[in-house]
């Protein structure tokens, strides 16, 4: 009976620990996953990093980088990008898939892409002027709201 009780108590405290462990921790830019570092050097070569951190929920669940020009990128735990937020400038044009870029050039040439986000269904784009677009992974438009 006694060992069981101890195990249960231990489990209880462990659980509490886990519950409280959902926090952010600072991470140096050079400690980011290789994939993430490559992404940054490819698409954001000039800008310096102001602040970078990792999100921890028992294990590392993701990374986040804020550049000195106010852009923000979120990464998955393996370093693949999840969200590119360039609210105060523009998402690098070479990052937008070709099919979507052509679509945008054709129908909305005056709207800059501020934010790009990977969703389950595909890619979600936020354009200047408050237009939200959802593209499938193949590049066809699924949803639009403006």
């Amino acid at each position: 009976m006694k060992p069981m009780m101890y195990t249960m108590l231990a489990a209880l405290f462990l659980n509490v620990q886990i519950a409280f462990a959902d926090k952010d921790f600072p991470v140096k830019p050079e400690e980011l996953p290789i994939k993430a570092k490559e992404f940054i050097t490819t698409y954001f070569p000039k800008t310096a990093i102001s602040f970078s951190k990792k999100e921890v929920e028992v294990v590392v669940t993701g990374y986040e980088v804020i550049f000195t020009d106010g852009n923000k990128i979120e990464f998955e735990r393996d370093g693949a990008w999840k969200e590119v937020n360039c609210r105060y400038s523009e998402v690098p044009t070479n990052l937008v898939p070709v099919k979507i870029a052509t679509y945008l050039k054709e129908y909305m040439p005056n709207h800059k892409v501020l934010k790009m986000e990977k969703k389950k269904k595909g890619l979600k784009l936020k354009l200047k002027g408050g237009i939200d677009l959802l593209f499938s992974t193949e590049g066809t438009l699924l949803k639009m709201n403006d």
């Binding site: 249960m8 489990a11 209880l12 659980n15 509490v16 886990i18 519950a19 409280f20 959902d22 926090k23 952010d24 921790f25 600072p26 800008t47 310096a48 102001s50 602040f51 951190k53 986040e64 804020i66 550049f67 000195t68 020009d69 106010g70 852009n71 923000k72 937020n85 609210r87 105060y88 400038s89």
Partner: protein, 429 residues
């Protein structure tokens, strides 16, 4: 403790433990989740400010009327490099607008710009609401916990008690069951397989017991009865032989001894028959008997027989004691006790008979050793291997006492053996 209470108690203890553990885990997980949510909102707020600051956009008002609150200050490179970049803390902050100090959750973030500037950003949100929430969650968890424990305990008691009803019915039936009497069969009124099996096997076994008991009774009664005649015939023939035959001295002595053995056998047989009658619950005719007379008469007889032992006899009787018994059974009882007290006595010994309204005690001197009180009332148990003893005397006494609900006790003290018959309902005159 009743079975259903026993089971319920155990279930309750288990539930109590499990629920306590569940409740505490639940509470801490919920609280953790709340703190997480709060931290998440602080993180978002902090990111938003850093992004704006970096982009050179206008920052929101420090105290914008919402609960969130922030301030940015420049720090040295040394401070930036020596301090952790993300710190969560619970402290007290002074809120100017309300002019009071409140507990708050603070997230401190260090960051830098491209031109070698280093900044410290503090974002805070008051935790008063969180504390309130925490308290009310705790209260509700306790309330829920107690309600659940009480409800489940009650439900358990009720369910188990109802499920166990056939068992209690069975036990009740078993208590009323007496071998050799008219017993009602146990009717099956349950659909539970285990109980049906229990009922079935109880019915089967009691029926078999009953049958065996009847057969045994019949056999003992018949055997003893059938032996009576041959024994009498054999005795008579030997008598005739002694009277008519031209026998010499030696043969006469031998036949005399055989007759004695046969008499012994007849006695044994009679006792056995009587014992079997009593145990079969046969009804004996009752009459009111004055015990004093019988005792005196028997004592006179045995005093003469065992005159050579020179035994001192004293009878202490308060008054005339009357009991309602069958006369011959009463006589057998007293004969056995008084005869025993003479037979097992020592030379120059003594016998004390005390008779009063509540008991009859016959004490005699004898062997300097107590008899085995657990064995002496068993049939055919003999302390010594005397030929004249049947080993049935005390067994018969006990059977008679049991039939009339008298208590029979044996005690030994300093060489005096005492047998006491306690009348339950003494009739005093």
């Amino acid at each position: 403790m009743k079975l259903f209470l026993h089971i319920s108690t155990r279930v309750c203890i288990a539930l109590f433990l499990l629920f306590s553990i569940w409740g505490s885990i639940f509470y801490y997980v919920i609280i953790g989740e709340i703190i997480d949510e709060m931290d998440d909102s602080l993180e978002n707020y902090s990111e938003m400010i850093i992004m704006r600051k970096m982009a050179g956009e206008e920052l929101p008002q420090s105290d914008n009327g919402s609960n969130n609150y922030y301030y940015i200050r420049d720090i040295s490179q040394l401070a930036y490099e020596s301090q952790p970049h993300i710190v969560y803390a619970d402290t007290l902050i002074y809120i100017e607008e309300r002019e009071e100090t409140d507990p708050a959750r603070i997230l401190t973030t260090l960051f830098k710009d491209g031109e070698g500037g280093y900044f410290e950003l503090n974002v805070a949100t008051p935790s008063i609401e969180r504390d309130d929430l925490q308290r009310s969650i705790l209260v509700w968890i306790i309330v829920l916990y107690l309600t659940m424990v009480v409800l489940i305990t009650g439900m358990n008691l009720w369910i188990i008690y109802n499920s166990m009803k056939p068992l209690y019915r069975f036990l009740h039936w078993l208590d009323q069951f007496t071998l050799g009497k008219q017993n009602r069969p146990l009717t099956t009124n349950t659909s539970v397989t285990e109980f049906r099996r229990l009922y079935d096997s109880a019915n089967r076994n009691t029926a078999r017991m009953e049958q065996m008991y009847q057969l045994q009774k019949l056999f003992i009664g018949n055997a003893a009865h059938e032996l009576q005649t041959p024994l009498a015939v054999a005795q008579n023939r030997l008598m005739l032989l002694m009277e008519n035959g031209n026998l010499n001295e030696e043969q006469m002595v031998e036949i005399g001894r055989t007759c004695e053995t046969l008499q012994q056998m007849t006695r044994l047989n009679k006792t056995l028959l009587l014992l079997s009658k009593i145990e079969n619950g046969q009804q004996f005719e009752l009459s009111t008997i004055v015990i004093n007379n019988i005792i005196e008469e028997l004592c006179d007889t045995f005093d003469e027989i065992y005159a050579t032992k020179e035994i001192t006899l004293s009878i202490e009787a308060d008054s005339l004691i009357r009991v309602t018994m069958n006369e011959s059974l009463c006589r057998s009882l007293l004969v056995n006790f008084i005869k025993n007290s003479y037979v097992h006595n020592v030379h120059n010994g003594q016998i004390i008979i005390i008779l009063n309204s509540s008991y009859l005690r016959i004490s005699n001197s004898g062997k300097q050793q107590a008899l085995r009180s657990d064995k002496i009332f068993q049939p055919f148990y003999k302390e010594n291997t005397s030929e004249r003893s049947t080993g049935l005397g005390l067994a018969l006494c006990q059977a008679i006492c049991k039939m009339y609900n008298y208590q029979l006790e044996y005690s030994y003290e300093q060489g005096i053996h005492s047998f006491t018959v306690v009348w339950k309902e003494p009739l005093l005159l």
